[in-house]
Amino acid sequence: MSVPSQDNAARTGLFARAIIYSALILFAVYYLLPLYVMLVNSLKPLDEIRQGNMLALPNQWTFEPWRSAWSTAQIGVSPTGLKPYFLNSIMMVVPAVALSTVLGAQNGYVLTKWRFKGDNIVFGLMLLACFIPFQIVLIPSARILGLLGLAGTIPGLILIHMVYGLGFTTLFFRNYYEAFPTELIRAAQIDGASFFQIFRRILLPSSGPIIVVTVIWQFTNIWNDFLFGSSFSSVDSIPITVALNNLVNSSTGVKEYNVHFAGAILAALPTLIVYIVSGRYFVRGLMAGAVKG
């Protein structure tokens, strides 16, 4: 991959580079600070948190808050910790991300390579879906889920998350495929390749970067959702954010901040891992299309 600024970099002096590095490190501190506060305080006993300095390292290290958040903290009536809710979230997130990504890819394919009259209007209408505040769709969505018999089930949550992710996934894929040479498609069609064959054999193999972007975006949004999770789940489908919120937001009780922070990091681990592992592809994917005007 060509990096245009290489030549610029070579010409900047030692002094300038020192400033650049200082600035970058300074901002790294700014971004890391809240995570550091959470991490350090999750390793302290509660007394030390009450009295101490929030930035100081623990005097007395303890992993008890982590154990508690994972397996013994009170989430509802039973002291189960966050453990049982992880699986619910995974069973909800994986299909929802997969479905919205596949549909988004096909929509992008149609909207760029099989253009029809009014396709821009269709796309514009789909794109506007990204911007609807979720609070206003709560009650009517509940009604529809009730009519479909999906109220309080994981498939119901999957459906809702898929629908409200379609705008973004379609946007990502459409912008990506827009840059894809149409000549290749034409050639394949003349060779007799069908609609789906072209998609599978030609577009899909080169869609890696944009799939990464879409998956990251969707995974993060759905994993972190609280409103739908609390409203459309029932006993067997409570997702992790609702459990975490129950842990953190109890109204009248002792607040065990160390357990809260440990729980928060635990609940965020899947998204953190996704970001760190695929961060490199993320920028590459954005570059390849998602931000193109």
Partner: protein, 417 residues
């Protein structure tokens, strides 16, 4: 086709889903927001008891915003036609739901067990709608308490204040002793909790006229201006960092002696007990000066939804277990509140708990048991929150007392309309 579906949805959105999804017998699904250690463990007693009777407890906790998140979820559940069996609810929210025609009927079991005779009438006002029992009250919290650090009180003369003037004297002494006299958290509901007590201290009739009857003449009156003046006075004794502080951190200030006293409902007691403090020796519980003999309360109740015949049995059993004296005692000892029925022995309770039970009985007899405005037991949510806005703006110095009284009357009028 699509349009038809769309219009159908919009119209049917207007309906109220008064039917239950098919479900299995002998189970109850319970939506609540008791998720912190103590209270959840207390609720577990109920769960275990039901399980011993062959009823499965399906737990659906949604915490946050003092029940606001749970009420949001409940709307979705009811709209989807899939309401839980029982829902923790407060005050006027119960009445509001009853108006939608979606709640169940506990009258049979209530009559059989004679609830009418043992549950105070002020609570029944919320547990019943249209003459029918619709909810099972779990507890009575009273909100006009002061929790005082004993050492700080001793250093300030040692006598618990019994009038407004005595309170100011004690606060001044505490200030002179170099501590923050009042431990307080600047959140709208906490400001309103103090306001409740202050209004009540200006007379039980005044409380009833202004907070419950919403009489415009009482809301914008000289007395109300005085109430706001008292709030301003109390504001002088609160430390500078109070804004946004959680109530339990304010309790911690009192426990540690950094603050002298806290005005808070009796759930605060749990914080003191958990810190190893003993009532009478480490901390003192008194009624807000000028409100002795009267109680402002809030009561957690389990509101029952319409269910099929099969589930009805389990629902009745749950309601019956909630009202059993053993559960009332076991739960409320942990929760810090008083039992919802007046015939529960107070032997298991500590001194503050015994006082709460006695005060409650006295206030009930004397007709001085009032729903707390701050906790949604004096007026519906729209009015309550409109009052919050004014109280909290005044407490934060955005309004003077005279304007605040006028704004209170205006806000209530607007919220009612």
């Amino acid at each position: 086709m699509l349009r038809k579906l769309l219009i159908g949805t919009m119209l049917s959105g207007a309906m109220t889903a008064g039917f239950a999804a098919p479900s299995f017998a002998d189970e109850v699904e319970v939506l609540h927001w008791w998720t912190s250690g103590g209270e959840a463990a207390a609720l577990d007693v109920l769960k275990k008891k039901l399980e011993s009777q062959g009823v499965t407890w399906k737990d659906m906790p949604v915490a946050g915003g003092g029940g606001e998140a749970a009420m949001t979820a409940l709307r979705a559940r009811v709209t989807a036609g899939d309401p839980p069996t029982a829902v923790q609810a407060l005050g006027f929210d119960i009445t509001d739901w009853a108006k939608q025609g979606v709640v169940g009927d506990l009258t049979d079991i209530a009559t059989k067990e004679g609830w009418d005779n043992v549950i105070p009438a002020a609570l029944q006002q919320f547990s019943k709608y249209d003459g029918k029992w619709i909810a099972a009250p779990v507890n009575v919290h009273s909100t006009n308490w002061i929790w005082i650090n004993k050492k700080a009180l001793d250093a300030a003369g040692g006598k618990a204040p019994e009038s407004w003037d005595e309170l100011v004297v004690v606060l001044d002494k505490m200030k002179a002793n170099g501590i923050s006299p009042i431990g307080h958290g600047g959140q709208a509901w906490q400001d309103a909790t103090i306001f409740d007590a202050v209004v009540l201290s200006l007379g039980t009739d005044f409380y009833k006229q202004s907070m419950i009857d919403l009489d415009p003449a009482a809301l914008n009156s000289d007395k109300m201006v005085e109430a706001f003046d008292r709030m301003s006075k109390l504001r002088e004794y609160v430390d500078a960092d109070f804004s946004g502080r959680d109530w339990n951190l304010a309790s911690a200030m009192v426990i540690e002696g950094k603050a002298g006293m806290q005005f808070m409902g009796d759930w605060a007691k749990g914080e003191f007990l958990k810190a190893g403090q003993k009532p009478g020796t480490d901390f003192v519980c008194i009624r807000f000066p000028g409100t002795q003999g009267a109680v402002t309360f809030n009561s957690d109740q389990f509101m029952m939804f319409k269910v099929g015949d099969a589930e009805k049995k389990a629902q009745d059993l749950m309601a019956s277990d909630i009202e059993s004296p053993e559960f009332q005692s076991a739960f409320n000892v942990v929760k810090g509140s008083a039992p919802a029925r007046t015939d529960v022995p107070d032997t298991a309770f500590d001194d503050c708990g015994k006082k709460a039970i006695a005060d409650l009985a006295e206030a009930d007899k004397g007709g001085k048991l009032f729903g707390s405005m701050a906790h949604g037991h004096a007026n519906p949510a729209a009015v309550k929150n409109a009052m919050y806005d004014v109280i909290t703006r005044h407490f934060n110095g955005d309004l003077n007392s005279k304007d605040a009284a006028a704004a209170l009357a205006d806000a209530v009028a607007a919220a009612k309309g």
